[in-house]
């Protein structure tokens, strides 16, 4: 390697001369370090038993903590980071407050999910958060029913955090040097121009951003992923630029930051993106990854398409732009040239304007951390009782995330009325021929998509709650 891989593990610097591209942090912890507190529950980032805290450099300098699934975190992605496992939560022989309260409130039964839950709660504690359902959306427990875990989290909330929470982050700037980082079959640039040139010359390489999908190619498909370029050191691609009318998200902006930015203009969209994966997945997964991966059920795309986002691609020094929806040609086929990568997505801001309805909804068997059966996004403007503009896109309804042009046409220029909504609902059949799979039948997908149009109509009438979550939340108050 050009330089050893360096990171902090529970406060101790680690330097590795050898780091295979496919070695997961989980296997390394358990097999090399005998740190068996971090558990393998599913090996695909869905159960949270392997949750660890990882530092993440901020574009403007400094670092923050994130939660990540160690089972789909590949060793080369750790360079320059701090890692805290369950073994490192306490300090000076004392438990972290969340550990203390989990014992006191009977928050563990079989205990196998508990290390991951303790880490997830320690991260929420460090961030001063109180939305524990959201913080735990990526952590499954099969024994407790969660109530005692939430009670423990609440009880620990006000206790002081251990010193390492800030101390670790202060030690990172000098930990890992700049410059290229390479290992057997992999490379991790920290200069985007160098990367662009390299990728133009090595178009066969796989690009890995957050590894929330590629991680499963390693752990489930048992694929060789080399040659591979890890992108996480390209700090410039993590930038978010906001103007009066647009937000430009670098390709490596985590989904959770996309959520936070869009929520500022439209809280409803924040609520939608809060159901994208889990805390762990939104911290790892990136805007660019979700687009380039082009899954028909990627949840950011219906929303970005409805908002009229523009995609910026780069190949070497050459850049081109296109409407996001034009990027998706067919299942697994995108308009991306060899050696070309997603650089940014430029999103018109969903600003609140009189007559504008911007909504996105996701339907899945489980509310949190599930894959959409149907996801629908709507950006509709009504002027003087008539629909003057409409952009609608759906996920889960076709082989790609797709705009509903016939449905839009059935709305634009028509009075905003039940009859028009009925016509638009009929038009959905011209836009989509969904499939049946383990998540939903074709018939249900169509009915549910129509249901979302109906919900949009009812909500605009303001006659009462139209979302079950609003009833649920009302009870909590």
């Amino acid at each position: 390697m050009t330089q050893p891989l360096r990171f902090l593990l529970n406060g101790t610097p680690v330097s590795l001369a050898e780091a295979p591209a496919q070695r997961t942090l989980l296997d390394w912890l358990r097999e090399e370090r005998r740190l068996t507190g971090t558990k393998e529950g599913c090996n695909e980032g869905d159960c949270g038993a392997c949750t660890v805290m990882i530092s993440d450099p901020l574009p403007g300098g400094g670092h923050r903590w994130q939660v990540r699934n160690a089972c789909i975190l590949l060793l080369p992605m750790l360079h320059g980071r701090a890692v805290r496992t369950v073994e490192g939560l306490g300090e000076k022989g004392a438990f972290h407050p969340v550990q203390e309260e989990l014992v006191r409130h009977h928050g563990s039964q079989c205990g196998f999910c508990t290390p991951g839950i303790a880490v997830a709660l320690a991260a929420a504690h460090a961030a001063g958060r109180h939305d524990f359902d959201a913080a735990l959306a990526g952590n499954l427990c099969r024994c407790t029913g969660y109530a005692p875990i939430i009670r423990a989290a609440e009880a620990a909330a006000e206790a002081p955090a251990p010193a390492w929470v800030t101390a670790d982050l202060a030690r990172l700037d000098d930990l890992a040097g700049p410059g290229p980082l390479e290992g057997p079959g992999w490379i991790a640039h920290d200069d985007v121009d160098e990367f662009a040139a390299w990728y133009r010359d090595h178009p066969e390489a796989r690009l890995v951003a957050g590894a929330t999908d590629v991680g499963l190619w390693v752990t489930k498909k048992l694929m060789e992923i080399t040659p591979v370029a890890f992108l996480h050191r390209l700090e410039v691609l993590k930038r978010v630029e906001v103007t009066a009318t647009h937000v430009t998200f670098g390709a490596l902006v985590p989904i959770d930051d996309l959520r936070a930015h869009l929520a500022k203009d439209a809280p409803e969209l924040g609520a939608y993106l809060a159901r994208f994966g889990s805390e762990q997945v939104r911290a790892a997964g990136t805007v660019g990854g979700n687009i380039a991966n082009a899954s028909p059920i990627g949840d950011s795309m219906p929303l970005l398409i409805a908002l009229g986002a523009t995609l910026r691609l780069r190949q070497g020094a050459a850049r081109r732009e296109m409407p996001l929806e034009d990027f998706f040609i067919d299942y697994g086929v995108q308009d991306r040239r060899p050696g070309e990568f997603v650089e940014a997505v430029i999103v018109p801001r969903p600003l609140p304007v009189a007559g504008r309805l911007v909504r996105a909804w996701k339907i899945s068997k489980r509310r949190d951390q599930d894959i959409s059966a149907v996801a629908g996004a709507f950006d509709i403007t009504i002027e003087s009782g008539t629909v003057s503009a409409a952009r609608i896109a759906f996920g889960g309804m076709a082989a790609t995330p797709k705009r509903a042009r016939a449905t839009e046409a059935a709305l634009i220029g028509h009075p905003w009325s039940e009859a028009t909504i009925g016509a638009a609902a009929e038009a959905l059949a011209a836009d989509f021929t969904p499939i049946s799979d383990m998540r939903a039948s074709a018939r249900y997908r169509m009915e549910a998509a129509r249901g979302l149009l109906q919900r949009l109509w009812l909500e605009s009438r303001g006659a009462g709650p139209v979302e079950i979550d609003s009833v649920f939340e009302e009870l909590a108050r």
Binding site: R30, R34, T36, G37, K39, E40, G41, C42, N43, D46, A49, T85, V86, F95, L102, V103, H106, G107, S108, Q109, C110, G111, F112, C113, T114, L136, N139, R142, C143, G145, Y146, A147, P148, I149, I150, K220, L222, K365, R366, R367, D368, Q369, D370, I371, D437, E447, A448, G451, L452, Q454, R455, L458, R461, G464, P465, V466, I468, V471, F472, L475
Partner: protein, 773 residues
């Protein structure tokens, strides 16, 4: 005053859990030369293996050897029922998609997994039998249909003033213990074998390993410190890994370990039985059930496994908490080319109860009554009334119900949860709501406690009192998170009147306590608690005799109190008493044994007293649904549950909360889907969704019924592992209530799981029926 029992001690391993120190099977450090195993799986659901070319598997990096059934020293049958239909590795025929065909022995877990995928397998495929309909058509019954009768149901239905008839389909359930199956086998120098396994049934593992190796059971030792969840999924399904490890360890002379990757675990192992229930009921204008007929059809999967007792228990709970004067229950246990369905919390009971609760709902809708009214007119007569001389009513299998508290319990719950008031408020809310609908339901639980196979109702224990007054206990039960070890330690501490911290809990070990039953049927603390108590009392009796003589006082003046022993005027610490006894050459170690009294059972006739007692409970659930999309949320749940006199109220409440949420998962979001070739499509948490934190009821009130077991159980407590699971039937009934409200009809036949799709389509179907006369 008790010193240890009836107190809310935290789980003994809690500090180890939260710090990551708690060791599970795959965390046990193994010798450096340990080998790792993986199964190669069948790519077809049914057929004959024409060719199994393993050349590429053998040639793969890190592979030490590959074994097929033909390479084993003797045929290996893993069937817990000794049915001879569960070979470790396929022997020519394949019976389900994912069946183990061969065993890879390799230098690492990853190398074994990679190699296992390289086989070239050719199978002469036959059309698989996948569904209940397929199995009925093909007549693949595991045994002739079983039928139990009480009274004359046919006549009672025929002459009843009112009748309903219908069908209910209820899906299966994946256990999703967070820790997948794992085992480790260490070959001993003399040919014996030491096995660590994540299992609820160490004795069965011992038995199967011994059989596979051709050894007496005494040469095989199986130890289980803890499991990361079991839920029944580790009652029989762990044998494959443990036996494979032992065989490979014998074959290579090296330690062997194996864990299933999650997808493999879900593809290979069995699940809760899917059931179809056809019903017909005759009743009067008050909703009193006069005659009921049930036909159960259970999808059992490819092997016998535990399906027969599971199906029996479904029949045994077909009455739930209701007196059925005339009833016939028929049950068919159908073999299919899918995973071998197995034990899962409730063991068929939940499926049986779903049938009668549907009948009640159907009857109530037909009469235009609140289902709770219909429930009340059918509840079993109270123990209080029986005590006053009214005859006890009998179950469909002839057991007198002498301990019913369901009427009192439901009255109190309905009052405290403001059931009637909320039902009225929900009706008003629904009338005003533009689209969303709420629903509410109160359902009871009566669950029979004891293994129906009578001889399993026994337990052994081994207790040592050391010279320093410390106590070490061992018993036959296994710890899977349910807090069994803590409860049993409390029992031991109480016996010697010392704090529970003085009692050391140790791993379950077949070399310490032999011939144990599975930790199952909610029986863990009932059986093992009594066995430990018996062992402690034997040691105590010896101490009493010795101290009475030493201190020249009557035996009844020896008292164990607050960590001390009072002998007449003398006060000794337990350590002093133990040391003195040791010096006087008194044995301070004892076994203990317990066998449940009073029970007997004739399963062919469906007659007897299979259960020592019943555990009772009830829950009120309120939900909201969106009829447009079918999405649903549990708004509020109130539970009142009977655990007798609780050994540990914190652990018991944990079992209730956790069991409820697991039950709600079964009936709402947890959906198993197979394709037309018998391939399980929902084989990972990405596609199979168990409840997460935000799915728990927004308001969740759990209370324990203040009472004690009428039977002389361990400190008058009751079993708690399974019964609360079935409280979640109230969620399904509340959803059905909301669906009916959405469709504007009195009744909708809602199947389970009530996924968004099933709910949305049920609303549409009911509306369509309503509109087309």
């Amino acid at each position: 005053m008790s010193i240890a029992v009836h107190k809310p001690h935290p789980h003994d391993s809690a500090p180890l859990h939260v710090s990551g120190k708690a060791r599970y099977t795959d965390d046990i450090p193994a010798p450096a030369d340990t080998l790792h195993l993986a199964f190669g799986l069948s790519p077809s659901a049914r057929g004959r293996i024409r060719r199994l070319d393993l050349a590429a598997v053998r040639a793969a990096e890190g592979v030490v050897d590959v074994l097929t059934a033909a390479d084993l020293p003797r045929p290996v049958d893993l069937s817990p029922a000794h049915a001879g239909d569960e070979p470790l590795l396929a022997t020519g025929e394949v019976h389900y998609f994912g069946q183990p065909l061969f065993l890879v022995i390799a230098s690492s877990h990853l190398a074994a997994r990679k190699a296992a995928r390289l086989a070239h397998v050719e199978i002469d495929e036959e059309k698989p039998i996948l569904t209940i309909d397929d199995a009925i058509a093909a007549g693949t019954d595991l045994e002739p249909p079983l039928e139990w009768r009480k009274g004359d149901a046919d006549a009672a239905i025929a002459t009843a003033p009112r009748r309903v008839k219908g069908r209910l389909e209820v899906g299966g359930q994946e256990h999703f213990y967070l820790e997948g199956h794992a085992a480790l086998a260490l070959p001993l120098d003399d040919g014996g074998m030491e096995v660590h396994a994540s299992t609820q049934h160490p004795t069965e593992i011992q038995h199967k390993v011994a059989e596979a190796l051709g050894l007496p059971m005494s040469w095989v030792r199986v130890a289980v410190r803890r499991m990361g969840g079991g839920f029944g999924g580790k009652e029989s399904q762990g044998s494959a890994l443990a036996v494979a490890c032992a065989l490979a360890a014998r074959h290579t002379g090296r330690p062997c370990r194996m864990r299933y990757d999650r997808d493999d675990d879900m593809i290979i192992t069995g699940k809760r039985h899917e059931i179809r229930i056809d019903y017909e009921a005759g009743f009067d204008e008050e909703g009193r059930l006069l005659g009921v007929r049930f036909s159960h059809y259970l999808r059992c999967g490819w092997s016998t496994d535990l399906s027969l007792p599971v199906a029996d228990r479904a029949m045994l709970h077909a009455d739930n908490a209701y007196h059925l004067p005339h009833v016939v229950i028929r049950s068919r246990r159908l073999r299919t080319n899918t995973q071998s369905n197995t034990a899962f919390r409730g063991f068929g009971g939940p499926q049986g109860m779903m049938g009668i609760e549907r009948v009640i709902q159907h009857v109530a809708a037909t009469l235009g009554k609140d289902p709770l009214e219909v429930r009340r007119v059918n509840f079993y007569r109270s123990a209080a009334a029986v005590a006053e001389g009214e005859p006890a009513q009998t179950t469909p299998y002839g057991q007198a119900v002498e301990d019913s508290i369901i009427r009192e319990l439901v009255d109190r719950l309905a009052q405290e949860a403001r059931y009637a008031e909320r039902r009225a408020a929900i009706a008003r809310w629904n009338a005003e709501s533009p689209v969303l609908r709420r629903g509410i339901a109160l359902t009871p639980v009566k669950f029979g406690i004891s293994f129906t196979l009578t001889h399993l109702n026994q337990a052994g224990a081994l207790v040592h009192l050391y010279q320093d007054g410390s106590i070490r206990i061992n018993h036959g039960g296994t710890e899977m998170g349910q807090g069994l070890n803590m409860k049993v330690a409390q029992v031991a501490a109480e016996a010697f009147a010392v704090p529970v911290e003085a009692v050391r809990i140790t791993a379950t070990d077949t070399a310490r306590v032999p011939n144990t039953s599975a930790t199952a049927a909610s029986s863990g603390s009932d059986l093992n608690g009594m066995a430990v108590k018996a062992a402690c009392e034997r040691i105590r009796t010896r101490l009493v005799r010795f101290l009475a003589e030493r201190h020249q006082c009557p035996e009844d003046e020896i008292r164990f109190e607050e960590g001390h022993v009072h002998a007449g005027a003398a006060v000794l610490t337990l350590a002093e008493a133990a040391r003195a006894a040791h010096e006087a050459r008194i044995s301070l170690s004892s076994t203990g044994f317990y066998a449940t009294p009073k029970i007997h059972w004739d399963r062919g006739r469906g007659q007897g007293r299979p259960f020592f007692y019943f555990a009772w409970g009830a829950a009120v659930s309120e939900v909201v649904i969106d009829p447009l999309t079918g999405e649903t949320r549990i708004l509020r749940v109130d539970v009142l549950h009977d655990v007798g006199r609780s050994l540990n109220p914190a652990i018991d409440i944990g079992q209730i909360e956790g069991g409820f949420v697991q039950g709600a998962g079964w009936l709402t979001m947890e959906e198993l889907v197979w394709d037309g070739k018998g391939r399980l499509l929902t084989h990972a948490p990405s596609t199979y969704k168990i409840p997460v934190a935000s799915d728990r009821p927004r308001i969740f009130n759990v209370a324990l019924w203040d009472g004690e077991n009428r039977e002389p159980t361990i400190y008058r407590s009751k079993a708690v592992g399974e019964p609360p699971f079935m409280l979640a039937i109230s969620v399904h009934q509340a959803i059905a209530d909301a669906v009916a409200a959405a469709a504007g009809v009195p009744f909708v036949a809602l199947d389970a799981p009530a996924t968004p799709e099933r709910i949305a389509l049920a609303v549409r179907a009911a509306r369509a029926r309503e509109e087309s006369p």
